[in-house]
Symmetry: C2
Subunit: 508 residues, 2 copies
């Protein structure tokens, strides 16, 4: 960084030729207060500090460890997972169509690439697509959903390709926010939640309505808690949306069919728009559980539900077995949207022109993978199973190891990519954190990072019941690295407990 | 589309089991009014209609033409422009690194790809990048800017990679909007403007301050008009930002150095944040004109300016000679941002995680193209010159042909990709349009589309002085197709004038 820029950026006032002060236009005082209110812990101060330490290590600085292990974000490839060959072949073929003449690419990858390119203007990934995405990819998404949901009809006119799932989620929330004061839109979100939701709610100045997941029951959603939260919120806002994350981020919980039916019935009765974040639909590890889509359950509840409840569900290239976060691919399916509102949604999306077309291509491969009779099937299947098998193993290892540590209690990691264990923090440590103006789990995670190089995200970034403390960790490091991480974490936790002279029993 | 979805989407109310009405949650009445206020003509009703006609033609419907010619959007590849080989080679190598072993890719492309991949987590395009983008790509951008600006220092810490330029523009505007009533942020934009600006201003509920470009002077920016607009706006809002588009969209004007200096002086005096949209910096066709970056001019005005004026400038992969719209690549350079505000900007960007990494790779090629001693240089240079040469030729042809038509007056297309000619619409046609509740240039463009298959955007979508009418057309169709377009347009215009029995002289 040049010192010139640095020095001057710090001065907010400078004397002008005419003697008047030249103030900065954009200061903390004049910044959009809704931007100021946004919080996003997954890339918060701990992660910034981890980056600083990493750079320090590279420059030879001494730390009590030789490597930073980042378990703060669901970024599979960064943790060493290899891309799915077939997906990358298709993207490379689309990017450089001369490769369609190369004998080293399999025919099924070429067929996918040709089809995608035919759907692009000028047969080029470099053209803008329609605002909703490339037609044939939207058609493939609809076919995928029909198969996933055992024949429940899917209409490709209801499919919108997006820039990752985040983009779709924010677009739908943006549509739903209106009113002032007591008629301001309220958005029901689970606690703990993925902080995109709270960040978008802050930015849109909507009202956040917390419903607490039941930690004592594997983080299940409790319908009575939904009613409680809704009734309480009605006093000061207009609840209009319920957001569900299934499988759960950060909880790792997989919802039961019964629970989903209860939520949908509730949404039907209370006229709520349903947003179901289903980006982890391929990440279910417990052999006795399965993913149920909100859409399929809605269908099974009968036409009175299926033809009325407004439901947006979200998927992404970033998670599942492919882990292609960098491509920013995703889709949403939106049911029962009023037709005029739909035109407004398309208009809103059109201002940003289109989602990245290479991300759309990556999404196409995920919904249209090689079939058993095709040449790439075996390799694809092998790669996919290896990723999901390893994740299942690491999910179990994480839960089991964490539960051997006194003062840590971890629910089963049934799905997704995260553990969200409860940690006991001794009262003296809580006091110390408070005196530092820090949440106790933030202090815990900071010390963990400084002493061991492990980067986790404090539970306070996701929300938790008052007086309880957690962290989120991903299960993405390689098995070997995850073992090291869990051992270091155990040693740190025991030392931490001792240091604060806590001989009392951890609260479970 | 299944009839089931269609039928039910139209019913906004349905009777529930319990006899209560089940209303839709999201209707035109409950939709976010800021979303409703957004307009984006580049993909507006004319373009929707063009799509309908195109599908009709494919299904054998009869029209007085056999093909829709889309000159509504700056989408080069869709109009037949071929990708730059080197760029696509680098992207393909990054997407499928096994190709690094292939002898059919040149060494300089491999070198670029290796460098980009080394900057990615796990050496994969599938990892999230940092919120500001991949470090080495930001470094390449800074080097590019220094070279472009003949040594003016550029700090890669000030570079942010973005999802196209639009994403950066909206992010900066979002930061700048605050206050209520008379202290609400005002945003100065040129008229005519690119409608992303007005759309973002609507969505953010900021105050739009129009400054009119001087059509009689080749659409130049007139500093007196800036003062007028500013003084008038101060009565009812707090002007905080000035946006400039150079080269101009839709005007095609290239700003003089003197004009830029005046704008910067004005911004300095009035404490305005400067946003310079420079996505057409490579698209200058008049041999006696050149692109001056706002940053370079600011530097040349001396440290009192260079170290104080807050300036964000935007670039993109979508325009220039590469035309890679679909990759959604771009960057912004932000100067003199307050350090705390900068942390807020990074936080805001982090919520969406990162721009698409393949778009970042495409951006890298544009700022780091083959050098004269490298194997791809000759082909790259040939392809680039061919694109820019053809555009220069079409810019001239468009202006000259349009100026032969009675009742059309077109300023020189000095740069960018558009002509924005003024069209004379006879009073009787104006009346007819008004009786149809339509702007006269919208009626004109609709009839043009229906009678000739040519798709343009009415001037009203960009803004124009009261009582004047325009359209925007791109110069992107192939030379042959552009000739056809211009001939059809001339014939249509003459017929249109005759039909409305306008024997009076067109107002020039």
């Amino acid at each position: 960084m040049s010192s010139q820029v640095n020095d001057t950026a710090e001065a907010t006032v400078i004397l002008r030729e005419n003697g008047k002060m030249r103030e900065k236009t954009l200061t903390m005082d004049t910044l959009n207060p809704q931007v100021k209110a946004v919080e996003y812990a997954v890339r918060g101060p701990i992660v910034t500090k981890a980056g600083d330490i990493e750079r320090g290590l590279q420059q030879g600085q001494k730390h009590p460890f030789t490597e930073v292990i980042k378990a703060n974000i669901g970024d599979s490839h960064a943790m060493g997972q290899k891309p799915i060959t077939f997906l990358r072949q298709v993207v490379a073929l689309c990017s450089f169509p001369e490769l369609l003449n190369s004998p080293s690419f399999p025919e099924d990858a070429k067929q996918r690439a040709r089809r995608i390119l035919q759907g692009c203007g000028g047969q080029s990934l470099g053209s803008y697509s329609a605002s909703q995405g490339v037609d044939c990819i939207r058609q493939d998404v609809a076919v995928y959903i029909e198969q996933r949901d055992k024949g429940v009809p899917a209409d490709w006119d209801n499919i919108y390709l997006t820039t990752g799932a985040s983009d779709g989620i924010v677009s739908i929330l943006k549509m739903l926010v209106s009113g002032q004061g007591r008629s301001r839109s309220g958005v029901m979100i689970p606690i703990p939640q993925y902080p995109l939701y709270s960040a978008a709610i802050s930015e849109l100045e909507a009202v956040q309505i917390n419903y607490y997941l039941d930690e004592d029951n594997c983080w299940a959603l409790d319908i009575n808690e939904l009613h409680r939260a809704y009734q309480a919120a009605k006093e000061h806002c207009h609840p209009r949306v319920i957001c569900i994350i299934n499988p759960g981020n950060p909880t790792g919980q997989v919802q039961s069919r019964k629970c989903i039916e209860e939520v949908l019935h509730f949404a039907y009765e209370e006229n709520l728009f349903v947003m179901s974040d289903e980006v982890y639909q391929d990440n279910v590890y417990s052999p006795d559980l399965q993913f149920h889509s909100f859409k399929k359950v809605l269908y099974e509840m009968g036409p009175e539900y299926f033809n009325t409840v407004e439901l947006a569900s979200f998927h992404s290239t970033s998670k599942g077995y492919s882990g292609e976060c960098g491509f920013r691919g995703g889709y949403m399916e939106v049911l029962n949207l009023d037709l005029e509102v739909k035109a407004q949604l398309v208009k809103l999306l059109s201002v940003r022109l289109c989602p990245p077309v290479s991300g759309q291509a990556a999404m196409d491969v995920i919904v249209n993978p090689p079939l058993p009779h095709e040449p790439s099937y075996l390799q694809f299947h092998k790669e996919k199973s290896a990723v999901l098998g390893a994740l299942a193993e690491k999910a179990q290892m994480t839960e089991q190891t964490l539960n051997t540590v006194p003062g840590i209690k971890c629910n089963p990691v049934q799905g997704a990519m995260y553990a969200f264990p409860r940690i006991f923090i001794p009262p003296r440590a809580v006091e110390e954190a408070k005196s530092l103006g820090m949440s106790p789990d933030m202090m815990y995670c900071l010390r963990l990072l400084e002493e061991t190089g492990i980067c986790l995200v404090p539970g306070s970034g996701f929300g938790q019941r008052e007086g309880t403390y957690h962290f989120r960790m991903t299960i993405l490091p390689t098995t070997e690295k995850l073992k090291v991480l869990l051992e270091k974490l155990r040693d740190f936790h025991i030392k931490f407990l001792k240091e604060y002279a806590s001989l009392e029993e951890p609260k479970r």
